[in-house]
């Protein structure tokens, strides 16, 4: 399979910079697979699993928010947060999930609180599910 150059940058630093053969990310409209020679394209990212094939090896990551752009063969993944599956702190994700669930169960919570808790719950669930992929 042909290689293409892939850069993954987050506000916390560079997560990946090099050659990859395949990238599958969850966009707001569903999964998007990218191979070498993909047409120029831009899509906003949702929350979900990102699969990256490097040297024939599959690597998994939890990829939340941001965007992906393909321009002249250069693939740039610019998520708000990105964690490789082996780096995910499952204890923290579980804690965050519990916190979100208590807020959601609370009937007196305000709209913004509910929205924040919902987003937090989604993130926690994505992290937990991705942590299972090795």
């Amino acid at each position: 399979m042909k290689d293409f150059s892939l850069t993954i940058v987050t506000p916390d630093g560079l997560a990946f910079d090099g050659q990859a053969q395949e990238l599958i990310v969850r966009t707001t409209t569903g999964d998007l697979g990218i191979l070498a020679g993909h047409v120029n394209c831009v899509a906003p990212l949702g929350m979900g699993l990102a699969t990256i094939v490097v040297d024939g090896q599959k690597r998994y990551g939890a990829c939340i928010g941001g965007m992906v752009s393909v321009l002249n063969g250069q693939v740039k993944l610019v998520p708000t947060t990105f964690e490789w599956s082996e780096q995910i702190d499952t204890a923290r994700a579980a804690l965050s999930e519990n916190r979100a669930r208590t807020v959601l169960a609370d009937k007196s919570a305000s709209d913004t609180e509910l929205r924040l808790a919902e987003a937090r719950l989604k993130r926690a669930l994505v992290r937990k599910s991705v942590a299972g992929y090795k």
Binding site: G13, N40, G66, K76, V78, T80
Partner: protein, 281 residues
């Protein structure tokens, strides 16, 4: 007479010494904080640059969909995000961004969103309109806060409450040089020459306007966070330089006072000897 003045000089030397001790300690603290802030700013930079470049590539090579974020508006209701420090004693750091704000605000119906206590205090004392005081502690503003500010600004921009958005921050060039900067965030203006060079088409998933609406708040949040990291590093660097200079100045003053003290003491001894000799004759 000489005795009084030596005592006075002695107290001044002592107070100067304790001042020097404080400024030296502050310099050391700033150095330690600077190292941390610098690492963070450097880690953030590739994100900032990639986001910025990707955004402009899209704007410049994109097809002709008309996003509200690309349209220049006629009004002059501007919002400035002012990133300053929480504490003083950082040389010209806080002053420089405030001066830049004043010069940029001229002729505009401006509201300011301060990040940093010093900036907020300045706005209060000058009675400049503030958008919100939620983020006045620059130390504690997080990435999530940057994104919620971005969302809020984008919403205001789309509603027509805001016509322009700027961010004022301090660019961290090096430990010795920081530069206050003003960056226009909205509207995104295409440069004319680049537009004509447009050659290839880009596929937008699901469509251009939706992509833009989703990406612009992300872009804004990312740029704000990048600017915040740069400013934090700049603040510590500015404080370190200022405190280094203060320590040096204190040392110079102590040297000058010590010389004066020794001279006065010598004069007192000489006088005493002369008096004894005169008395014994």
């Amino acid at each position: 007479m000489a005795g009084v003045s030596t005592k006075e000089i002695k107290t001044r030397i002592r107070s100067m010494e304790s001042t020097r001790q404080i400024t030296r300690a502050m310099e050391m603290v700033a150095s330690a904080k600077l190292r941390k802030a610098q690492v963070k700013a450097m880690a953030c930079r590739p994100y900032f640059e990639t986001l910025y470049r990707a955004m402009w590539d899209i704007v410049d090579t994109g097809s002709d969909f008309s996003s509200p974020f690309l349209q220049k508006k006629d009004g002059n209701k501007a919002v400035f995000v002012l990133i300053s420090g929480d504490r003083g004693l950082a040389g010209g750091y806080n002053n420089n961004v405030q001066k830049l704000l004043l010069s940029q605000m001229e002729g505009k119906d401006a509201a300011v969103l301060p990040m940093g206590k010093k900036g907020a205090d300045y706005l209060k004392s000058h009675e400049i309109k503030m958008l919100t005081e939620q983020y006045t502690q620059a130390e504690t503003v997080s990435l999530g806060d940057c994104f919620s500010v971005a969302k809020q600004l984008c919403k205001g921009f789309k509603n027509g409450e805001i016509d322009e958005v700027f961010v004022i921050y301090t660019k961290f060039r090096s430990v010795l040089s920081q530069e206050p900067m003003c960056l226009q965030l909205l509207p995104l203006q295409r440069s004319e020459e680049k537009v004509s060079k447009r050659t290839q088409e880009i596929v937008y998933e699901p469509d251009g306007a939706t992509v833009f609406d989703a990406i612009v708040p992300e872009y804004l949040g990312g740029v704000l966070y990048g600017a915040l990291c740069e400013s934090r590093a700049s603040e510590q660097a500015a404080r370190r330089t200022a405190m280094d200079a203060a320590t040096e100045n204190a040392g110079e003053m102590i040297d000058a006072l010590s010389l004066q003290f020794n001279r006065a003491r010598q004069a007192a001894i000489t006088q005493e000897i002369t008096e004894i000799v005169a008395g014994s004759q």
